[in-house]
């Protein structure tokens, strides 16, 4: 079969940020296949230099609006590491809670508004308002609840206000805890319906084995906020050695930096976490996994969405128990932290270097700062999940295209778009953007 197909998806939709898919099939053979990232670079790492390290979370969370809570937490971790600040137990609990909210919010957005339209054969949620009003209503309601959770805890979901270096600039009152718990219980019911809905939908079947990378640790809980970096190939290194993992290299066809560890490429994200830490999921999440027919090690990238659903169940349950835990302990309001800038010298300054490694919705996120003895940033580096996935996505496409070559151009395009979307790429995040277009 000799066929020429040119696919050029300019501005991939329903993903965060600007990316293109370019595929050329010549005489039935794959000639070119790349995922181009065309987001305008914003130079965060460059302009962080010279700013107080206490401003880093405020600035870097503006890398991406969808995972701004994740960036905040990674940034705080890196900065506290550099300054030698140890968070209190209460702070750690509340941060875990925030991270859960973040995963939930982002996953729900992705599952319902970005992926569900593909599975239901429409271009966006708008047509679903007619055909599946109750699904849309549920999605929007869940989204609202997630937002409200963040509003109560940190002021807002996009660019959280009260999560700062050293802890929180505002602590929830007992009524706040009650309210959050109530909202989580509400979400729980909707989540059950969500599992049911997605158990009935068909995802594309495609498998390709790869190395899945994410945080692992020796504790009982599903690691999200801290740990070492591990992989399904059995490796484990400290977060300080992240450069060994992300190992940037250049691919000839696009002369762009990519990442690999032990194989050609690796993947991060919900599926990676699921594969790495399945055992530590909440029992209810495991039940959901069974209902959704997914088990580790799952190597169908399309099922990243399903792993997100499983994780969402986990987050709801775990968030509930965190709140119950805080409830029992009572909140110590003396721990309220003066925001920003260390103006009151609340924390001693020192020259230092710190790394933050956090599992954000799309996978492993690393922030790395150096500062001088006045706490002024002298060097910064951020490694974004999407950067780590780009090469893996491309290799998936290379593997997938020959298998679906006989389909129509539209079908191929849709399959590829869905593949990219399954990874839930977050392209504005790519401050460290590495994909280039060279003529």
């Amino acid at each position: 079969m000799s066929r020429n197909v040119n696919i050029n998806v300019n501005y991939l939709t329903r993903v965060e940020g600007h990316g293109n898919i370019v595929v050329k099939i010549k005489d039935g053979k794959l000639d070119e296949c790349k995922l181009e990232i065309v987001e305008s670079p914003r130079f965060f790492e460059a302009f962080l230099r010279g700013r107080s390290i206490f401003e880093a979370p405020h600035i870097t969370c503006r890398i991406c609006g969808i995972c701004s809570c994740g960036h905040t937490l990674a940034s705080i971790q890196a900065a506290e590491d550099a300054l030698g600040i140890k968070p209190t137990e209460q702070t750690t609990l509340l941060r875990k809670l925030l991270l859960h909210y973040e995963e939930l919010d982002s996953h729900i957005l992705h599952i319902y508004l970005l992926v569900a339209p593909d599975l239901l054969g429409v271009p966006s949620f708008v047509p679903l308002v007619k055909s599946h009003l109750n699904v849309v209503k549920r999605a929007l309601k869940m989204k609202r609840l997630c937002n409200e959770l963040c509003d109560i805890l940190v002021g807002r979901h996009v660019h959280p206000i009260s999560a700062v270096i050293g802890g929180f600039s505002k602590l929830p009152s007992t009524q706040d805890l009650e309210q959050m718990h109530g909202k989580l219980v509400e979400l729980e019911k909707d989540m059950e319906d969500t599992v049911e809905l997605f158990a009935s939908l068909r995802f594309p079947e495609f498998e390709r084995d790869t190395e899945y990378v994410g945080l692992i640790n020796d504790e009982k809980e599903y690691p999200l906020l801290y740990g070492d970096i591990g992989s399904t190939d059995g490796y484990r290194v400290s977060k300080y050695d992240y450069k060994v993992v992300v190992n940037e290299f250049v691919v000839p066809h696009a002369s762009a930096k990519r990442t690999k560890w032990h194989r050609e490429s690796y993947a991060v994200g919900a599926l990676a976490r699921f594969n790495l830490n399945y055992e530590k999921l909440h029992p209810k999440a495991k039940e959901a996994a069974t209902a959704l027919n997914i088990k580790p090690k799952c190597i169908n990238p399309y099922l990243n969405t399903v792993a997100q659903i499983v994780e969402s169940v986990h987050c709801i349950e775990d968030a509930k128990s965190i709140i119950e835990n805080i409830w029992q302990k009572g909140i110590n309001y003396d721990e309220i932290v003066i925001p920003d800038i260390n103006q009151k010298g609340a924390f001693p300054l020192r020259a230092g270097e710190g790394v933050g490694a956090v599992e954000v919705p799309r996978g492993l996120l690393i922030h790395h700062y150096e500062c001088d003895e006045r706490g002024i940033i002298t060097g910064a580096n951020c490694v974004i999940p999407t950067n780590q996935n780009t090469h893996n996505i491309e290799l998936d496409m290379v593997d997938l295209i020959p298998k679906i070559m006989d389909k129509s151009e539209e079908e191929i395009t849709l399959a590829l778009e869905m593949l990219v979307r399954a990874y839930d790429p977050c392209i504005s995040c790519s401050v460290h953007m590495i994909d280039l277009r060279i003529d």
Binding site: E16, C64, F125, K137, K143, N147, I161, S169
Partner: protein
């Protein structure tokens, strides 16, 4: 009467302001009841070739390609709205303007920096005419809705000309200056209901400077509290660096 055709476009930004719109929850349904959202790349695949009644522009203009693109959108739009700090005042992207562009590029991309041609960050009104401004990083949803209603009714929207302190006092917060901290509230345009201070943080000035700030007075205040002036300049730069382009 057919519903107005509304589109959302993003430039260099975090897409958080679009997300604030998508985050309206069930209100999104009320929204699509009164407007026809024809493009919203973050959550929709639909595309529209015709004219836009209202275009929301998110993000700053940071390269030549973007300049061309926003000009095209302007031509096709009856009303153009700058959405969020990146679009209205340049926002955090403006901090880049303090650096030599080549050096900044080299720092992030190494020798590959040449493949990322960049220009000084500009707010949207510094490139094309803007009809409505919705400030904030991210936008404050109630204000977004207010402006949207003004647009739909063909009314002007006046961004408050007074500082954040006004709203802050009405929310009965303990003033950050009482806590010994520096707050940008006194020189920042209101409209966010003093969001950050309500949540225990200081105001960072994300909505841009008030029209008529008393800079000398503000400097005196800082002196009184023992805060160095360059510290303040850095603070202003965080969101308001692009203002220099307005003045020059």
């Amino acid at each position: 009467m057919s519903k107005p055709k509304v589109a959302f476009f993003d430039f260099a930004c975090c897409e958080g302001c679009q997300l604030q719109v998508a985050n309206l929850g069930e209100m999104v349904l009320d929204l699509i009841d009164i407007v026809d959202i024809v493009e919203f790349r973050e959550v929709m695949s639909e595309k529209w070739d015709g004219e836009f009644d209202v275009s929301f522009i998110e993000g700053s203009i940071t390269d030549e390609h973007a300049v061309e693109r926003v000009k095209k959108i302007r031509e096709k739009s009856k009303i153009l709205v700058a959405l969020g700090s990146c679009a209205t005042i340049g926002g955090v992207n403006g901090m880049k303007n303090s650096f030599n562009l080549e050096e900044a590029g080299r720092y992030v991309y190494g020798e590959a920096y040449k493949f990322f041609p960049t220009i000084h960050t500009k707010a949207v009104h510094q490139v094309v005419r803007v009809d409505y401004f919705i400030n904030g990083c991210p936008i404050y949803q109630p204000e977004f809705l207010t402006v949207l209603k003004c647009i739909l009714k063909g009314l002007p929207y006046y961004v408050p000309e007074y500082p954040v302190c006004v709203e802050c006092k009405l929310n009965e917060n303990v003033c950050m200056y009482d806590r010994g901290l520096t707050c940008m509230g006194p020189v920042t345009k209101a409209g966010c209901n003093s969001w950050c201070i309500n949540n225990g943080n200081i105001c960072y000035g994300c909505r841009g400077l008030t029209i008529n700030p008393n800079s000398q007075g503000f400097k005196d205040v800082l002196k009184k509290f023992g805060i160095p002036e360059d510290f303040l300049m850095k603070k202003i730069e965080m969101y308001n660096k692009c203002k220099e382009l307005d003045e020059s």
